[in-house]
Amino acid sequence: MILFDCGFDNGGDIDDDNDEFPSKVGKYKAKTELHHFCSLPILIRIQEMVVGLLNANPIVYKKKERRARNVPTVIDEVTFTPTIEHCSMATLIGLCLRVKLMRSLPSRYKVDIRVAPGRHATEAEVNKQLNDKERVAAALENPNLLELVDSCLEP
């Protein structure tokens, strides 16, 4: 039984109040089972979004390089644009982005992730959570959420 706390339900009403990282992700056998709770076109769009984002499209990278004692501390500011304005999956997408960057970049990189301004109803809340490393760390300790993120990041 899947309980995916993303705000989607069968009726299609989107709950924008809940931007917490999905915490009640139950076990699931196949990715397609998610379409019971998130309609399939949305799921596909999410996967496309993530892949698209990671191919720098429509991401805006802003690199600020600072040098401290010849060891560059690179700060990436990554802005992503969810294609659905009220998509409460923005938090999940942002999380996937953070995980992908964490796994790809050297540890000295400091990354700030933001929802592109004006493109999400609760962008301040989403941004705050995505940039709170303790919240991100705790969310990624949820094995089901981690599995979901991994499946989204699969090529």
């Binding site: 915490s23 401290a68 004692r69 060891v71 501390t73 540890s107 000295r108 400091k110 705050k128 940039n131 709170d132 490393k133 303790e134 919240r135 760390a137 705790a138 300790e141």
Partner: protein, 404 residues
């Protein structure tokens, strides 16, 4: 490394390795053994490590507390007696460990929070324990005989994840800080009736983003908070902090804000017995602040004393002054290491005169050979600056050799 005023620096004494994931938090044992005591560290690797200074003078890991927490251990705190260690974990529990000789045994597990526990703190007498979690609550537990703990109150009030709780150094006053950008002061109205007597940060002088940590000064009349808004704020109370004024509001007021010193989130702050405030931030640096003795200014103000850049390779999550040796500081990082630092004056020997010119008397045979002189000829010697003996043997120092 920048040095401001007084030529002080943080000298790295030792790097402690062993944890296999980020180290979140540190706690010095208030009593401890030996001169400098014992340090506890907790990590994303789900363990707690105990470090002690060995007979050789170096710090070694004397115990690993494992197989208890099933997720990140986020915070740890020693009881005032130094015999018990409380550890708070993302698994929703707080474990109590008892120290018996060199061994530690888990004697109690406090359950109740709905999700990740972020912080734990003992009151001055060791009779009460406070914990806080992402479930927005603060729990107060009473220590009873036989290592039993009973929850006496669940404090509601925060509107988001509570990041840290800290008891006042000698009064039963609790302060909590969190993701809702607020700082809350809690006291008891007799008989386990705890309530929030003040929320700092509502009137415009408060933090504008997550407050990560707080620390009291030793006198208990000031506290410092640090935040994701890149500032440190000093709060002051001239009265007994457990007293409330007539309309129910508390007595803490904003004293000053230290801004412009940090450009990444400040995760930890700790006030030493000597009055130095240490901060650990996401730019991998440790900074020290002290009260400015500037007579020109009416208001008390604070200034940065030392900035130690690249203290670690990654974010500094915790800074803690040793409770017995006030010049000793420990820091913990996302890089999985802990470092012990000593605050000291910059050594005079390190202050070299700019000129590297050196005229030497007797030089290494190899050097003499390379410039074609007789190896055994005594030479004229003088120097333009003080020279360390080790440098005479260091062939890297450029030399000029004169023949008499």
């Amino acid at each position: 490394m920048e040095l401001l005023d007084g030529e002080l620096e943080l000298r790295e004494i030792q790097k402690l390795e062993g944890h296999t994931d980020r180290v979140w938090s540190l706690a010095w044992n208030p009593t401890g053994t030996g001169v400098a005591g014992m340090l506890a560290s907790c990590s994303g690797d789900k363990t707690v490590r105990i470090w002690q200074k060995g007979p050789s003078g170096s710090w070694d890991c004397s115990a690993v507390l494992e197989d208890t927490h099933t997720r990140t251990v986020r915070s740890c705190a020693w009881s005032p007696s130094g015999k018990l260690l409380a550890t708070a974990s993302f698994d929703g529990t707080t474990a109590i460990w008892e120290r018996v000789g060199g061994e530690f045994e888990c004697v109690a597990t406090l359950e109740g929070h709905e999700n990740e526990v972020k912080s734990v703190s003992w009151n001055a007498s060791g009779s009460l324990l406070a914990t806080c979690a992402r479930d927005k609550t603060v729990w107060i537990w009473e220590a009873q005989p036989g290592n039993e703990f009973e929850c006496v109150s669940v404090l509601q009030g925060h509107t988001q994840d509570v990041k840290m709780v800290q008891w006042h150094p000698f009064l039963d006053v609790l302060v909590s800080v969190g993701y809702d950008n607020s700082v809350k002061v809690w006291t008891e109205d007799g008989d386990d009736d705890w309530h929030c007597v003040q929320t700092l940060g509502e009137a415009g002088s408060g933090h504008t983003s997550t407050v990560w940590a707080l620390s009291f000064n030793s006198a208990g009349d000031r506290m410092v908070t640090c935040s994701d808004d890149l500032t440190l704020k000093i709060w002051d109370t001239s009265q007994n902090p457990s007293e409330t004024s007539g309309d129910g509001s508390g007595s803490w007021s904003h004293l000053c804000t230290l801004s412009g010193y940090h450009d990444r989130t400040i995760f930890s702050v700790h006030w030493s017995r000597d009055g130095l405030i240490a901060s650990g931030a996401a730019d991998d640096a440790i900074r020290l602040f002290t009260e400015s003795k500037d007579r020109m200014v009416d208001q008390p103000s604070y200034k940065m004393l030392v900035k130690r850049e690249k203290a670690h390779d990654m974010d500094v999550n915790s800074v803690q002054w040793n409770l017995k040796e006030p010049k000793l500081l420990a820091s913990a990082s996302d890089d999985g290491t802990i470092k012990i630092w000593e605050l000291s004056e910059v050594s005079k020997v390190d202050n070299f005169v700019q000129s590297h010119h050196l005229l030497i008397g007797f030089c290494q045979p190899q050097v003499v050979n390379s410039i074609g002189l007789c190896t055994l000829a005594p030479l004229f010697m003088s120097s333009s600056r003080d020279v360390k003996e080790s440098e005479l043997l260091d062939s890297k120092v450029p030399i000029e050799v004169f023949d008499t």
